[in-house]
Symmetry: C2
Subunit: 130 residues, 2 copies
């Protein structure tokens, strides 16, 4: 199991790399076979190509993350944080324009500290004009 | 599926009832067969007697909850929030004395809006002197 400090440091790196527009650097934090459910209730992305596409698209929409609380660990291989996403939803997509989306992200980790799953809790009501 | 507003309103009620010391009122928000994993990584509590004991003990330690972020919904029957717990850890227990524990709580809900699971993400590092 990774240490609590390792998991939390990876979550902070995740935020830093998202904010630097480093999509490949974000993807490198994920283990092979990792899954992403963002938002929770949407079909999980379950392979590296889909995960890479997700973060390249996110970077293309000027995504930025600000931590609101955490990251917090657990007594297992899981950690969580509250954050606010800032994103420019592309023209033609639902909710087009600058948006802020406060949410909770829960991640699990493998023994090497790589992310094995990410689940983001936000609903349509969390999409606010930025 | 409950509405997003119903799930979030139940989480706010949960906080209010905890802060009112109303253990039975908190337990009444849970569905039959609900499970609690608090903290994540500890053995789940899986019956109403164990859940009742948990909240009666919590009330006995003057537990208080302050929402830090959220509650946020999802596109499924789940919602999450970041909160800070304030608790008087009893003398003789690990970390005895007044403590604040910031954490993330994730809950799932049944069709009637009752809580079917609660998972609280916090580790030993989240236990701070209050």
């Amino acid at each position: 199991m990774p240490t609590q400090a390792e998991m939390k440091a990876t979550m902070v790196k995740y935020v830093e790399r998202v904010n630097a527009g480093d999509a490949d650097g974000v993807v490198a934090l994920y283990a092979d076979g990792a899954t992403i459910e963002d938002p929770v209730g949407s079909p999980p992305r379950a392979d590296r190509a889909a995960i890479t596409e997700l973060y390249r698209n996110a970077v293309a929409t000027n995504v930025r993350l600000k931590i609101l609380a955490g990251p917090f660990g657990s007594f297992a291989n899981a950690a969580a944080m509250a954050a606010e996403v800032r994103v420019d939803v592309p023209v033609g997509f639902p909710g087009e324009g600058p948006k802020r989306i406060p949410l909770v992200e829960v991640m699990t980790f493998d023994d090497n500290g790589k992310i094995t799953s990410m689940r983001a809790y936000w609903g349509a009501e969390e999409m606010h004009p930025a």
